[in-house]
Symmetry: C2
Subunit: 332 residues, 2 copies
């Protein structure tokens, strides 16, 4: 199974979230109040989406960054709920995209309903995040989240454009995941600092931390999609292969394969002649691709942690460090 | 064909937009600069979506409301481009929803590409609107647009929930279209006034004007979908019937049909036994349903125009009145 999946669980997260446990409960209450409607059909969908987010990593990031760099204020609750709504909107729309059948052990909106409903529910969550942003006294969060949301969409679209491109290189891959995943985690940590009154250097360090964390999480997520166990992960896996998305271990596998093997590896990725994940496993076992991807993720985690040195030591800073390390241990 | 479709054309609009012609050109330039990307695939999609909006009615509404009630300032350009981006995002997502093959004589994103791309392009346009909102000095537009966007999604979802419900009544119908269409036109006119320095009463009148206008436009749109000509309209028609969306003329037809005819009318709507629009035409010709829907639209136009009396006479106010009347004449 390789060293990627040593068993990061929800229990670890509960411990890491301890410095902001009560604050996270308030964010959940805020999300609950936002995710309701006087129309039964809409209300049912909104309540369903409340359960999709799962780990609440992005709200935790906002709150921990605030606590680690200054004063946690009212605006942080609003921002934390806002980023979770944006994240959930992308999950709902991802389920349209990936035709995934399972996510977080809860039926996807898309398999329970249809594509139309999923698209509109995602839009509703996005609109709701806009309502929350509007409640803030100033426009700094709106500006930063707009930029991040734009990058996320661009990253996803670049990924679509590169589908089936077996020449995709590491730079392209890291550019795409920096946009589609790390832009939002970067802005979570940055806004945590900004609204806590942290100085410019600390905000930049937090933004960098969030970015490195996001990249590490995405590499781990891509490894999980290739190697993980659906039962443990609680979601459909192997979807990257189905969509011919080349991820880091496969890019490495192709880059290091002998010329004479390359065609067979591409065939395994394309699923010509049987189970993709099984066929690939034997190629992966004979290469350094999984260990290499793991090492790249570790390097990003190390950079994330080194950026935290610009903040004073505190329980919240320790939790941020633990969150970065969690990326390497996650199974879900 | 009835009095609904007497031939409102793009030429009429050019005339109505005259008091803000140069300002609309600046909004178009702003949209062009927003709808570009350094990634070719993304850039092509963004540029494609620039052409989808068509009439630019919502930006015109912002600018005319501003000019009719106070001073047109820098913020109005930003808001006008923002609402057009939101509107275009909903069109792109509508094309996923309605499986429409044509819109504005341009191939839909969805028929040129796939559902995934359409969902992400709509999200990108929404994200881009957020970036623009973030450029404003304050959060009033963000707050108002968040509320409007939420209502739009709720309205669309309520419409999905009521699909195939042949007991849908007029109140339900008007509630749905007020949310899905008129919430945005209301906020366009309101924000035009708000940022122009109009007083509270004038802003409320403009909001009401935008709402009545939106309702009238939607009723006209629904009549067009039932009775219009695809070649002239430049988009797929009859999609409401395909999706079993009951619109005002059909609600009236069912409400006034003899008990013994009701089943046959429902069959015609369901398309049991041939071309829906043809089968319905013979029922509509023998009822007051089309004239009734037209009269209801006219009543909303009259209410819209009466609200304009709270503004001083001006070329811009005359254009707003003309825009409301256009709803009754539109063929596109």
């Amino acid at each position: 199974m390789g060293p990627t999946l040593r068993g990061g669980t929800a229990d670890n997260l509960t411990e890491l979230y301890a410095p902001v446990r009560d604050e996270l409960s308030r964010v959940d209450a805020l999300l609950r109040s936002q995710l309701s409607s006087s129309y039964p059909f809409v209300d049912e969908l909104a309540k369903h989406s409340f359960r999709l987010g799962g780990k609440r990593m992005r709200p935790a990031l906002v709150l921990l960054a605030a606590r680690a760099s200054g004063t946690l204020v009212e605006a942080h609750y609003t921002i934390a709920a806002t980023v979770e709504l944006i994240h959930t909107a992308t999950l709902v729309h991802d389920d349209v995209l990936d035709e995934a059948k399972l996510r977080r052990h809860v039926a996807t909106v898309n398999s329970a309903h249809d594509n139309e409903t999923s698209v509109l529910l995602g839009d509703l969550l996005f609109a709701q995040s806009l309502c929350l942003m509007g409640e803030l006294d100033d426009n700094r969060a709106t500006r930063a989240l707009g930029r991040a949301a734009r990058q996320m969409c661009e990253g996803e679209l670049r990924q679509i454009a590169s589908r089936g491109n077996f020449d995709l290189n590491e730079d392209d891959y890291f550019g795409i995941i920096a946009a589609k995943t790390a832009a939002l985690t970067a802005v979570c940590a940055q806004l945590g600092g900004l609204y806590a009154g942290a100085d410019e250097g600390q905000c930049a360090a937090l933004e960098g931390f969030g970015r490195e964390l996001g990249v590490a999480f995405q590499v781990a997520d891509d490894l999980l999609d290739l190697l993980g166990d659906e039962g443990t992960a609680g979601k459909s896996l192997g979807t990257d292969l189905v969509k011919q998305k080349l991820t880091l271990p496969l890019i490495r596998l192709l880059a290091t394969a002998a010329d004479s093997d390359r065609r067979a590896v591409v065939d395994a990725i394309l699923g010509n002649g049987g189970n993709r994940r099984e066929a690939l496993r034997s190629w992966l076992d004979r290469s350094d691709a999984v260990a290499y991807a793991q090492q790249r993720a570790e390097a990003h985690v190390r950079r994330a942690i080194s950026l935290l040195e610009q903040l004073p030591p505190s329980p919240a800073r320790r939790s941020l460090q633990g969150l970065a390390e969690f990326a390497l241990w996650r199974r879900t």
